[in-house]
Assembly symmetry: C2
C-alpha cells in the first residue's frame, strides 16, 4: 500500500461517526448490516450517513451488496489488514512500538 492510500484510509476512519460506523459493521459480523439499521443505531440523518458511508466505500474499507431494496454494508477486513500492516511496517520501530506482530499467514 502506498502512503497516499494509507493516509486516505486513515482519514476515512479519522472521524468519530465514521469510526463508529466501521466498528458497528465489524461487530455485525459476516452478514453485514443494512444502511437503515445502521441509521437507527447511530441516529444520524439518512443523507449524512450515506455521505459517510460513501467515504468508507471509496477507500475500500466498506463494501455494499444490494439485497432487494436494502443495501447491506460489510466491513472489508482485507483492506483493514493491509492498513494495519502498513502502519506496523512503516510507522513502527521494531521492538519499540511493536506489541503488534505480523505472523506469517500461510
Amino acid at each position: 500500500m502506498k502512503l497516499d492510500d494509507a493516509a486516505a484510509r486513515l482519514e476515512a476512519l479519522g472521524n468519530p461517526t465514521r469510526l463508529k460506523i466501521y466498528r458497528t459493521l465489524v461487530r455485525a459480523g459476516a452478514e453485514g448490516l443494512p444502511v437503515g439499521r445502521l441509521q437507527a443505531k447511530l441516529d444520524a440523518a439518512a443523507s449524512t450517513l450515506s455521505h459517510h458511508l460513501k467515504a468508507l466505500v471509496v477507500v475500500g474499507l466498506v463494501t455494499q451488496t444490494r439485497e432487494g431494496t436494502t443495501l447491506v454494508c460489510h466491513a472489508n477486513y482485507d483492506v483493514m489488514r493491509e492498513l494495519l500492516g502498513y502502519m506496523v511496517e512503516e510507522c513502527c520501530a521494531e521492538g519499540s512500538c511493536a506489541p503488534v506482530v505480523l505472523p506469517k499467514v500461510a
Copy 2:
C-alpha cells in the same frame, strides 16, 4: 482508549504530509529529528510544517524536546501501540481481519 481519541489520532495520521512526518520520525529512531531537518526532508514551508507537527503533538503521537535553539521531534511509540491495539480490538473480527495479533507483553 476511547473512540473519540482513536478517531482524533487517526485523523492526525490521515493526511499525507502528516503521515510522512510521522513515518520520517519513526525512521529517525530514538534520537529523533529537529524540526528544521524535517522541513528540509519534506520540503514544506516552516509555518505549514509547524502547523502539522502541532496536530500530531496535540494527539500525543509526537513529542518534542528542546535542545538549545532546535526542537527535536520524536515519534511516540506508546501512543501508536495503543492506537493499533484499539484498531485490532475494536475494528477487527478475530480470524477475519487479524493477521495482526497482540501478544501479551510481560
